[in-house]
Amino acid sequence: MGNDLKDEEDNFRDRAVTIRLRSVSKYYQSSQATLRVLDNIDLDIYQGEILAILGPSGCGKTTLLRQIAGFDHRESGSLLMDGQEIVKPEVKRIMIFQDFNQLFPWKTVIQNVVYPLQVNSIGESDAANNEIALQYLKLVELSGFEDSYPHQLSGGMKQKAAMARALTLKPKVLLMDEPFGSLDALTRISLQNLLLKVWRETGVTIVFVTHDIQEAVILSDRIAVMGRGTVGIKKVIPNLLDRPRVVGVAGYAEIYGYVYSLMDINSER
C-alpha cells in the first residue's frame, strides 16, 4: 500500500507549485520554555489542487495555515508564493475562518461581498461591483438573501456568504480553517459539495485545514497528515479517488484506514 502511494505521488511531480514551504518554524516563547509549534515544515502546494491539512487539535495546523496566509511572523524558513516571499496577508490568498462571525455584522450580505471589491477598486462603478457580488452569491447558492444581515442567517449560510466574499477578489488560493467544523453533519455535507462545485468552476487552489478524516478524504487531492506534538507533517498522502466521491466508494476504506493509522489516535490512552 505504502509503495503504491509513493508511485502515485509522482502524478503530482510535474504540476506547477503555487506555494512552497521550506524549513518553516514557529515558536511561542513562554517564561519557562520555548514551545515549538511548527518545526522545519517542508510542503509544496500545487496549483489548482485541494490540499487537506489533517491533524488532531493542537498539532499546529491552524498555525501553519496562518503562516501561509501571512498573518503571523515566523522564526525561520522560507515561504514562497509564485517565487515571492510571503510577508503579509494579500488578496491572492484569502482566508476563510471557522468563526461564523467573520462577516461584518453592520453590513448586509451583499454589502459584505461588495466591500472587498470597493476596497480594491475592482469594478468601474458600484453597479458593476454589485453585479459581480450577485454572481458570486449565486455561485454559493445564496441568491435572495442579499439584503439580509448576517445575524439573520444560519451558520451554514454565513459560511456560504464568507465563501462568496472570499471569491470576489479572484484569489489564487483559498485558505480554509475548519470552515465547516461548527456545522451540523448534514449542512457540512452540503457545504462540502458546494465547495467542490466552486472549486470546479473557479479553478482556485484550496488549502483546507480539518480534523475530520472523512472530510479530508471526500474533498482533497492530497492529505498532509500532521501529528501531535512537534512531529510536523508526518506524511503527504495522494488521494486519487474518482470524483464525485461519497463515503464508501471503492478505495475509500483503504485511504481512510491508512490516514487513520497515521493519526496516532490510540496513543492518547
Binding site: 494579500e90 484569502i94 482566508m95 475562518f97 467573520q102 453592520w106 472587498p116 476596497v119 444581515y149
Partner: protein, 261 residues
C-alpha cells in the same frame, strides 16, 4: 412585533406611575400640609411653565443650554474617537491617553470650576470646557474597551482584503465597537447635563442668556417655586426625549438592527 408590544407596555407602565405620582402630588399640595410657596400645586406649575413659554424666556434659556451641550458633546465625541484611534495606532500615544484618562476621569467637572474660571473666565467657553471634560474621558474609556473587545477575525479579514491601518479603524474598528460607543455617549450625555446645569447656576447670565441652570437658580431668588419646577420639568422632558427618541432610535437603527446587542 414583540419588541413593539414591550415598548408599548413600558409606556403604559410609565404613564400609570406618572399619573399616580401627579395625583399624590396634587393631594399633598391641596391638603395645606406645606405652604404654597414651597409646595405649589400642579396648576401653578403649569401656569408658570405656560407663562414662561409665552414670554419666550424658558425657550430662550433652553435653546441656549441645548446649543452649548450639543457643541460640547460633539467636540468630545470627535476628540474621543480621534484620541482612541491614535491610542490603538501608537504605543507611546496609548500610554499618554491611558495616563490622562486615569488622572482626569475621576475628577468631577464641578471641582475644576474655580480653576476654569481663572483660566477661561465665566463665559460660554468655560461651560464648553467643563462639558468636554465631563464627556471625553468616559467616552474614551468606552471606545477603548470597545476596540479591545473586537473579534480579531474582523481585523484579519480586513487585512486580508488589503485595508490600510486607517481603513481598519474607520471601516472595521469603529462600527464593530459601536455598542460601546453608544453606551459611552449615554454616560457622556448624562454627565454633560450635570456639568452644564451646575456651571450655568454658578456663572449666571451673560446678558439675558444664562441657560436652564440659570433659569432655575433665578426663580429661587424671586421665590418663584412653580417657576423652578417648570425648569425642572423641561430638564426631565429633554432627558426623556434624548434617551427614548435619540439614543434608543439610533440604537434601533444600528446595533439592534445588526444583531450586535
Amino acid at each position: 412585533m414583540t419588541n413593539k408590544d414591550s415598548s408599548r407596555n413600558k409606556i403604559k407602565t410609565r404613564l400609570f406611575w406618572i399619573t399616580i405620582i401627579l395625583i399624590t402630588w396634587e393631594i399633598m399640595a391641596k391638603s395645606g400640609a406645606f405652604p404654597e410657596a414651597i409646595f405649589p400645586s400642579l396648576l401653578d406649575i403649569a401656569r408658570a411653565l405656560g407663562d414662561s413659554v409665552v414670554s419666550g424666556e424658558i425657550l430662550l434659556q433652553t435653546g441656549f443650554s441645548l446649543v452649548l451641550i450639543l457643541e460640547g458633546f460633539l467636540i468630545s465625541l470627535l476628540a474621543a474617537i480621534l484620541m482612541s484611534s491614535l491610542a490603538v495606532s501608537n504605543k507611546v500615544f496609548n500610554g499618554l491617553v491611558d495616563t490622562l484618562t486615569a488622572i482626569a476621569h475621576p475628577l468631577p467637572g464641578i471641582a475644576l470650576l474655580p480653576l476654569i474660571i481663572i483660566w477661561f473666565g465665566t463665559g460660554t467657553l468655560s461651560i464648553i470646557v467643563i462639558i468636554v471634560h465631563s464627556v471625553i474621558w468616559p467616552m474614551i474609556l468606552n471606545i477603548m474597551t470597545g476596540f479591545r473587545a473586537i473579534s480579531p477575525v474582523y481585523k484579519e479579514a480586513g487585512l486580508n482584503f488589503g485595508l490600510n491601518h486607517f481603513r481598519i479603524i474607520k471601516d472595521i474598528m469603529i462600527p464593530a465597537s459601536l455598542p460601546y460607543v453608544l453606551s459611552g455617549m449615554r454616560i457622556g450625555w448624562a454627565r454633560a447635563w450635570r456639568a452644564l446645569i451646575s456651571a450655568e447656576m454658578i456663572f449666571g447670565a451673560v446678558g439675558l442668556k444664562g441657560g436652564l441652570g440659570w433659569y432655575i437658580f433665578k426663580q429661587r431668588v424671586f421665590m418663584d417655586t412653580p417657576g423652578m419646577f417648570a425648569g425642572l420639568f423641561v430638564i426631565v422632558l429633554i432627558g426623556i426625549i434624548v434617551e427614548d427618541y435619540v439614543f434608543a432610535a439610533f440604537e434601533e437603527r444600528t446595533v439592534k438592527k445588526w444583531g450586535m446587542i
